[in-house]
Point group: C2
Chain length 231, copies 2
DNA sequence: GCCTCTGTTTGAGCCAGCGCAAACGCTTGC
DNA sequence: GCAAGCGTTTGCGCTGGCTCAAACAGAGGC
């Protein structure tokens, strides 16, 4: 059953490609639905496929031998993920879990060489993505080295807002269910501390929230906190 | 003045290339000597060149607006660095400083497209390098999120030993001058804490040292500390 | 050989944030 | 409508590692 090229035609990744090209790329792929909380691939498993997220949100998680979990990042619509093949890796360095119901395109690894050869712009885009993730991860190391917990939480929430924010009546809402525990795993702290910080912010009218929900009502105030310039 | 192909013939990066290929790659490059502590490129400067370290060691440092420094990584002989061009970036995300006297090959950015087109294996190797750095950086995030300072210092020293260790009579020595402050900037702590930890290890016969010098005499003990399984 | 500079060591006090504990309340399933 | 479960909130006490401070010791310059 063929996939319609409209699935990917609008994505920046495939900008400039003709209908025939899009069809060629899609002909190698398989689309699937992934229910929330289902695992797309597992850490340390053999990496035989790579993916692109069409809709929904995916959480990329590393688990330590001791059982601690750290959220490496969230994948947004239109992004490649699990591209171990592009980095010359044979296993996935982390697990990928659907943070919300998702639609995912999946290619076998052998398709990578072909796509890269025939559509260099797509390959270059993927490498740019990897480069951006490296920058972002290094940014996180810097934050964890130099900032206090409250600033780190502010930075993490701002990142989420920028990458996955959705405007609503009360402010900008994170577009998928996210727990205090998740935020703790993004910032290297505990859910207790995250809860305390968010509660304090709520009293100051900076954020709203609720169960598995975060709404930022005053992004500017958050920015000031992240930069440690609170008035 | 032409560069001799023996400069790079032995490097894994250029494995499998013929003499003519090596000459072609070198014909685009410029070799230079960099004295210890000299800056090779500056954070946020326009990225117009990329580099390969022939000998010596390079420290890659990020500086925050507040003036805190964080060491992103050390570059070893034979590695590319400053390859912003490969990640589609127009500025350098960090500064590069010679940690010891260095010999560096430098190409203008436009050489990248040519090298990548004519020698795909070299391009793939560079992308593998970026992928490895992403993994390593994420590993660091995990460490900073889940481990105590002593474990992180142990992990950092072990990484240095693996990447830049040199066997001597008393043990494995880090191959370039490195201060307690440097180790603090790698692990997100203070030079005081690093000094205390190293002094304690010295008493236990795990490491030796001195001014700008670290010698590991019992790597296995360090490994146990890093994994929090100290007897 | 002396002086200065830079890196290292060590002490003392303090506090941000963690661990532990318990209660609370929204959601979901029956 | 009720029960169970999961996510969240809040309190309390403790401590790892930071800050501040000062002394110390090689290395290099003159």
């Amino acid at each position: 059953m063929a996939l319609d090229r409209s699935l990917i035609a609008g994505l920046p990744t495939f900008q400039g490609l003709g209908d025939r090209d899009l069809d060629a790329i899609l002909s190698l792929a398989r689309a699937s639905h992934v229910a929330r909380d289902a695992e797309i691939f597992a850490q340390d498993a053999a990496a035989e496929q790579f993916h692109l997220l069409l809709s929904g949100h995916v959480r990329v998680v590393r688990t330590t031998p001791a059982g601690d979990q750290v959220i490496a990042r969230y994948i947004n619509e239109g992004e490649f993920f699990g591209i171990a093949v592009a980095m010359g890796r044979s296993t996935y360095p982390a697990s990928a879990v659907a943070a919300a119901d998702c639609v995912v395109l999946t290619w076998p690894n052998r398709a990578w060489a072909e796509i890269q050869a025939r559509f260099p712009a797509v390959g270059a885009g993927a490498y740019r993505t990897i480069g951006e993730r490296l920058q972002e991860t290094q940014e996180r190391v810097v934050e964890m080295s130099t900032q206090q917990v409250e600033q780190r939480i502010a930075s993490a929430v701002l990142r989420l807002v920028r990458q996955s924010g959705r405007k609503t009546g009360e402010g900008i809402e994170i577009d998928f269910p996210i727990t205090r525990q998740d935020i703790a795993e993004m910032t290297g702290t505990t859910l207790h501390t995250v809860s305390r910080v968010l509660s304090a912010w709520e009293e100051q009218g900076i954020v709203g929230g609720g169960r598995q929900k975060v709404v930022v009502t005053d992004p500017h105030a958050l920015l000031l906190i992240a930069e440690n310039r609170r008035p």
